[in-house]
């Protein structure tokens, strides 16, 4: 019954990611897309918070959104997986349902 959660706003701007982490269960996947990719970067408060949850939740970040904003996968906190659009589709299929935190 694992759920894929998605968030698309910068965690410096909204508390979507925080609520998503609070309400998602162990075993969930969390995909950061659009402006939410800023939350996966090293040396950000959100990135630090995320790196602590990678043991019981899988964290993904959408590569094209990262690249569009001038960042490379090397700048993403360890334990966070970079996926492309095809990978996003695979995730949507793999999880029971998708819950968007908008």
């Amino acid at each position: 019954m694992a759920v894929l959660h998605t968030t698309n706003k910068s965690p410096m701007q909204t508390r979507d990611l925080e609520s998503c982490l609070r309400l998602s269960r162990p075993g969930s996947g969390i995909l950061l897309m659009e402006d939410a990719v800023y939350g996966a970067l090293k040396e950000t408060a959100a990135g630090t918070m995320l790196s602590k949850t990678t043991k019981d939740k899988r964290i993904y970040v959408l590569g094209p959104d990262l690249a569009a904003r001038g960042f490379t996968p090397e700048e993403v906190v360890p334990g966070v997986e970079v996926v492309d659009y095809g990978g996003f589709v695979d995730l949507a299929v793999k999880y029971h349902h998708v819950q968007a935190w908008v």
Partner: protein
Amino acid sequence: MSDTQDEGRGIPKVKRFMLVNRKAPYGTIYALEALEVVLIAAAFDQDVSLVFVDDGVYQIRKGQQTKDIGQKNFSPTYRALGDYDIEKLYVERESLEARGLAADDLLVPVQVLGAVELGALMDEQDVVFSF
């Protein structure tokens, strides 16, 4: 497989729909849109539950008076949800407490659940709509 058989016999399948409200009313249209969706879903006899998280808890704060902002006060409509057989209203305890509110401050009876319990309930749904 039984789902498919039921559909084959023309028995509509009841799905578990959850609407997650996370925005305050009036500043954006999300709260009103969610309310419209919940009334429509109820007309299709689905298993509908309504969740209030983050600023969404402000949607059901007592005492809303919108006359002077020129917007419709739709808060009384939450009290009509029982007539539509929508009885499952959940509020996240953490969100309520962070805003200095208690169940008494809300205009409808709700079940107050902690994040862990509420998260488990979200996972059990067939469809989750976020507003």
